[in-house]
Amino acid sequence: EDKVVQSPLSLVVHEGDTVTLNCSYEVTNFRSLLWYKQEKKAPTFLFMLTSSGIEKKSGRLSSILDKKELFSILNITATQTGDSAVYLCVLNQAGTALIFGKGTTLSVSS
């Protein structure tokens, strides 16, 4: 009974493509939804989403949350090889433990 489900699990694109990564979740006491990028070992923080419909944007990356339908998407435009990584969707559920999805592995070829 996964609480955070990411799709697709893996994705291969060419440089310059736009990608959309999906995350759906189940929640008891929602606090926030987070996106992390993981290369090698350490996840690095991308976005924290708490409100529906408000897009967070950082360069070529953007994300939005729908609290009614319980999902979030992460968009990456004009992908570059440096975007190759695992993208983790993470649920912060008014408690102590972050709940991680299994991640989407993105491979960008030149």
């Binding site: 987070l34 070992k41 350490a42 996840p43 690095t44 923080f45 008014a94 433990a97 972050l98 991680f100």
Partner: protein, 118 residues
């Protein structure tokens, strides 16, 4: 330091041995978390400290796992009688405040320790 640091970066041990993994959080961060990440999976929560005390240790898989944070900064994760199934990357994270304080509980991760039990 500027970020969360963990040592060692890699640890290879034999089944049955005892290991200690160290985490040095971002200076001033009161909350510290340990996660374990197996291949192809997202990190799984192990334990969380607020200050010196373990506020939630519900993720520790069994009593072979123990963690301490005696002075409220550096933490050590201890694993007794290691088993091959303990092989994973152990990630540490810290946040400025405890979970529940909006905007101040974003967790920042260290590089992890890759533990291999032969």
């Amino acid at each position: 330091g500027a970020g969360v640091s963990q040592t060692p970066s890699n640890k290879v041990t034999e089944k049955g041995k005892y290991v200690e993994l160290r985490c040095d959080p971002i200076s001033g961060h009161t909350a510290l978390y340990w996660y374990r990440q197996s291949l192809g999976q997202g990190p799984e929560f192990l334990i969380y400290f607020q200050g010196t005390g373990a506020a939630d240790d519900s993720g520790l898989p069994n009593d072979r796992f123990f963690a301490v944070r005696p002075e409220g900064s550096v933490s050590t994760l201890k694993i007794q009688r290691t088993e091959r199934g303990d092989s994973a990357v152990y990630l540490c994270a810290s946040s400025l405040r405890a979970p529940g304080l909006a905007g101040e509980d974003t967790q920042y991760f260290g590089p992890g320790t890759r533990l291999t039990v032969l």
